[in-house]
Amino acid sequence: MNKRITRVLRLLFVFLCMNLVWYIVYLLMNHPILPSPGSVYKAMFQLEGREVLLNVGYSLLRILEGVLLALVIGLLIGLLMGRSPLWNKLLDPVVYLTYPIPKIALLPVVMLFFGLGETSKVLMIMLILLFQIIISVRDGVKAIPENTYDVLTSIGAGTVQKFWNVTLPGALSVILSTIRISLGTAISVLFFTEIYGTEHGMGYFIMDAWLRLDYPEMYAGIMLFSLVGFVLFLLVDLLDYKFMKWRR
């Protein structure tokens, strides 16, 4: 418990230092494109609560949908490739060829096919995450020693039982670390997709403030967006803590 408090204190201290650096730069620059921390926080607290909630909610929902979709599809394909050599041989070239494509470059294509609405935003996030999840699930499943299944096989466990008791928990740690790594990319992509065709979401909010030359509000939006990312990161940490107890 004490450790946790010192960790939180350390984080707070670093946060304060960053604000201090920001303030010093602000003093040195003395230009409206970089407002002082104080005026940004003031702008943040002057925002209408309902509006902020709506924007944050939209962004979170898109990320959540994209992550879930990528998880479901990625788990299925990754498991198939991890457990069956035949499927691995068939799908490996596909993954190998499509993995290096910078998915963000597909943004216009996705928008052409699925319009400017919600679908294309969620699909973009899914595309970013999907291939990394497939690859990590496949490798994670392959890394489970074959004899881990022995005892369950000998007592007549079925495929589903083996999946829930061995394959999924065995691959979970790689899945969690993949999500942690690709979450950052997913949030960046979300920002891009929210510039177009929507009037909700943090990306829209930030660009809107930028166009209105309301810099304190723009920075406030960036801070809030970062906060959303931070909360998502904490969420993954929480899942890790809950499901990875056995490794400690």
Partner: protein, 258 residues
């Protein structure tokens, strides 16, 4: 008399080949009475583990017949409790969870939750690890993990128990304590048991008969009767004359066949 009427585990003309066509296990003919325990000893590569894996249903490709009380061993209602050398515990489940999942899969205790919990508690305490129920396997010592694996094998109340060098990774003191615990529990719940070991002493201490696998696949299996030692009190076995005689006999077979 048809062999299918023999009670116990009946292994007929069992032979296992690797995919390359190389023989992994030469022909084995063996009958183990129900409620009997035989130890198997043999040099590395003689097919000890292969034999157990075939009975456990982990090898799809073998020729010959495996029957238990006249029914195929891989029948749904014949339960096999396996204790592998690496303990075979799921690291992401607690001690309690490991036993629970095995009982759930086999439908032990008739799916009754209270009954299942009572049995888990019973087996954990008879293995002397009741206080470890909520720990994860990676935080346990080898001896403790093997106790869990044995508790799990007993908890599903199997007709057949297969133990693949369960104590070979443990230090001598822990090994002897576990041999005693295992035997006590087996005597209370005598499943048909095959116990593979590479330790001559262990083979004599735990088996009613001792099966010696030859190094050459074409050679025949040697079966030694060990009833004299098996009938003694466990703590008196090691000092007895019969134990010493048995050791000499096994060493002689080992010299000839290994």
């Amino acid at each position: 008399m048809s062999s299918s009427r023999i009670s116990g585990l009946c292994i007929q003309e069992l032979q296992v080949e690797y995919k390359s066509g190389q023989v992994a296990l030469g022909q084995v003919n063996l009958t183990l009475p129900e409620h009997g325990i035989y130890t198997i000893i043999g040099p590395s590569g003689s097919g000890k583990s292969t034999l157990l894996r075939a009975i456990a249903g982990l090898l799809p490709n073998y020729t010959g017949e495996l029957l238990f009380n006249g029914k195929p061993v891989h029948d749904k209602d014949i339960l096999v409790g396996l204790v592998p050398q690496n303990y075979g515990l799921l690291p992401w489940k607690t001690v309690h969870g490991n036993i629970q999942v095995a009982m759930k899969i086999t439908g032990a205790a008739g799916g009754d939750k209270a009954e299942r919990e009572a049995r888990i508690t019973h087996w954990l305490s008879s293995m002397g690890i009741a206080d470890l129920a909520d720990r994860y396997p990676l935080s346990l010592s080898g001896g403790q993990q093997q106790r869990v694996a044995i508790a799990r094998a007993f908890a599903i109340l199997p007709q057949i128990m297969l133990l693949d060098e369960p104590f070979s990774a443990l230090d001598a003191v822990t090994r002897e304590a576990l041999q005693q615990i295992f035997l006590d529990n087996w005597l209370a719940h005598p499943a048909t048991a095959l116990f593979v070991t590479h330790d001559v002493d262990e083979a004599i201490l735990l088996g009613q008969r001792i099966i010696i696998l030859p190094a050459g696949k074409a050679d025949s299996i040697e079966v030694l009767d060990n009833a004299a030692v098996f009938g003694m009190k466990h703590e008196e076995k090691r000092g007895s004359n019969e134990f010493f005689e048995q050791t000499k006999r096994i060493r002689k077979v080992m010299q000839e066949k290994w």
